[in-house]
């Protein structure tokens, strides 16, 4: 039962996270200043890898860092070790959740194609090294802004967009909080997560997995929205039915660069290159897919020229009939992390507790209300009066349910609301008026860009 998975912690899980916390704490003061207490913690971090293939390299790296030498090679070993622990934590959570949901998941079998972006990566790596040496507490305005040039060149090349988007979002947080020494609370795990991922993505030959062309019908379950100051992404979760009768649980995403003053419902305007995507999301239609690429990790690479809008299809009805038996796909090896879990589920027949759904038997699942975006119609009140919820189960220190759509009863009438309902603009009058006013911001900036950038 789902309740069992939500209530239990896998064996060894807490110990793994304690090791991660020890390393993360060292990054607060910086690797140039390892005092005796932190040295002890780092030595136990190394000891935990005893007997593993990484044992010697980790022991050597930790020894050198404690002695005061921090090289790029040492940092890769640290990041790799941290990613290995969190990858194992991810696997343990996923296995228990899949068992509880009765979800079958394909095994990972693909071998990577090695990417070649070598010449572009050095700038990002040197910034990440400076950060690790200075520690979060040592981040001043100058260091926080030090990634700007690297981001510009990474953004311009198609193969390094992923790293550019990550570095830019990370740098924005450091810039917003510099000088970090005076910040009352530091997001220790978060910044270590972002640093680790960026460091691994900055290595030559980071593994990349090819997509395979596929035909079928995609039924959308819900849309998750992501944003930082310079990016907006809509990621749809759906069921892909192929002609051989297989139903796979997949994701498909569209993203656009933006600036911080474009946010809320008007951010959808930045996705104007994807009219079919926005239409099927807003109108809850199926998508006929012909020859679109599907990665082994379950990412359908959206392509407007390979998509056609189909019939209207209610996501709740689709989930009731098909979600339980759909095949899920595994995460790519280096993407395994508890924070990357976002497992679509349909919940019904729950009771309401404070910021939680009561699943009965004394078990409740907390609601991730911080993930209800301004760009969609879902509100805490709607979720609080809901009778059915399509959402993503996530893990962030505990299990959380992020609602993507709800069926509710408002003033005795049944209503449904989905995160993507405003993909073509808000459907509610007050929000539409606000969006029209905010939307002129996009026009003002585009006009300025046209005038100044093409001089």
């Amino acid at each position: 039962m789902l309740a069992d998975a939500l209530n239990s912690t896998p064996d060894g899980f807490a110990e793994a996270l304690t090791l991660v916390d020890g390393l993360d704490d060292a990054l607060v003061q910086g690797l140039a200043r390892i005092d005796e207490d932190r040295a002890t913690v780092l030595e136990s971090f190394a000891a935990a890898f005893g007997g593993s293939p990484l044992a010697d390299r980790i022991a050597d790296t930790i020894g050198k860092i404690i002695a005061g030498t921090v090289t790029d090679e040492h940092l890769v070993v640290l990041a790799g070790a941290r990613a290995a622990l969190l990858g194992a934590a991810h696997d343990a959570l996923r296995v228990s959740l899949d068992a509880a949901l009765g979800r079958s998941r394909a095994a990972w079998s693909d071998s990577p194609v090695v990417s070649d972006n070598g010449h572009l990566l050095a700038g990002g790596r040197s910034w990440l090294r400076e950060l690790a040496i200075a520690g979060w507490r040592g981040v001043d305005h100058e260091l926080a802004g030090g990634a700007a040039q690297a981001v510009q060149s990474l953004l311009a090349a198609p193969g390094t967009r992923r790293l550019a988007v990550l570095l830019d979002g990370f740098a924005a947080e450091l810039k917003a909080t510099a000088p970090v020494a005076t910040l009352p609370r530091i997001p220790v795990r978060r910044w270590a997560d972002l640093w680790t991922r960026a460091l691994l993505l900055s290595q030559d030959g980071y593994p990349h997995f090819e997509a395979t062309p596929i035909d079928g019908r995609l039924v959308l379950l819900g849309v998750d929205l992501h944003e930082h100051p310079t990016v907006f992404q809509a990621q749809a979760h759906g069921l892909l039915e192929t002609p051989d009768g297989t139903v796979r649980l997949v994701r498909t995403s569209v993203a656009a660069a933006k600036v911080d003053t474009i946010s809320g419902p008007s951010a959808w305007r930045m996705l104007s290159a994807f009219p079919i995507f926005r239409g099927v999301v807003a109108e809850h239609r199926t998508v006929e897919v012909s020859g679109m690429g599907l990665t082994p990790a379950g990412d359908l690479i959206w392509d407007e020229s390979r998509a056609a809008a189909g019939e209207p299809a209610d996501p709740f009805a689709a989930a009731r009939v098909r979600l339980g038996s759909a095949t899920a796909l595994p995460a790519a090896p280096l993407d395994r992390h508890p924070g990357a879990l976002a497992e679509p589920v349909l919940l019904e027949g729950y009771g309401h507790a404070e910021n939680a759904f009561d699943l009965g038997g004394g078990v409740s699942v907390a609601l991730d209300l911080d993930r209800l975006p301004a760009a969609g119609p879902l509100t805490p009140a709607l979720v609080g009066s809901s009778t059915a919820c399509l959402g993503l189960l996530r893990w962030d220190g505990r299990w959380l349910l992020q609602p993507l759509a709800v069926q509710a009863v408002v003033r005795k009438k049944p209503v449904a609301a989905h995160t993507g309902d405003w993909a073509l603009g808000p459907t509610e009058a007050k929000a539409a008026k606000a969006e029209a006013a905010a939307g002129t911001a996009v026009d003002v900036l585009r006009e300025r860009a046209g005038r100044l950038l093409r001089k």
Partner: protein, 166 residues
């Protein structure tokens, strides 16, 4: 912010940047807290081709205001008494980031409950930074020209879209 559950320090999705407030952009198309300054671009009231590039340094509260062609602003003219452009810049920054964040960044001495940013600034003059700030504005605008993307961006799971200010 969540009060129960995991500590802020141990949450992968701990919120760091508060959502920016919506504001009109025609008068002040660009504001940022960067490089140790509150800086931005203010439209000229009279000439559509001209903008003023204005900045206030954090800590020293040094003022600078010049046109994009590097002419000094007549309203500031090397003094430490803010011109209308600097006032518009500060108003836009407060609308966008909130007074608390702007005051913290500039190290302004605001009395408890004080709501006037200028009352907490001990202004002085600062060197002309127009070229750097204008370059930053152009870089900002260049994001609007970056091609859209459909390849997976797995790290965006760490960046949920901004919630409504409810």
């Amino acid at each position: 912010m969540t009060t129960d559950g995991a500590d802020f320090e141990r949450r992968g999705s701990a919120p760091v940047i508060a959502p920016v407030g919506p504001r009109k952009l025609a008068k002040v198309p660009f504001v940022e807290l960067a490089d140790g300054r509150l800086q931005g671009v203010v439209s000229s009231g009279s000439d559509i081709e001209r903008v003023y590039v204005s900045s206030i340094t954090a800590g020293d509260h040094g003022l600078s205001c010049n046109t994009n062609n590097n002419r000094p602003c007549g309203g500031l003219s090397g003094g430490s008494w803010a011109c209308n452009h600097l006032r518009a810049l500060a108003d836009a920054a407060v609308a966008q980031y909130g007074l608390a964040r702007v005051a913290r960044y500039l190290k302004a001495d605001l009395a408890d409950g004080g709501d006037d940013l200028w009352s907490g600034l001990h202004t002085t003059t600062a060197p002309n930074r127009a070229a750097e700030v204008f370059a930053s504005f152009l870089r900002h605008l260049s994001y609007l020209e970056v091609a859209p993307a459909t390849d997976p961006l797995p790290e965006l799971q760490w960046f949920p879209a901004a919630g409504a200010v409810r």
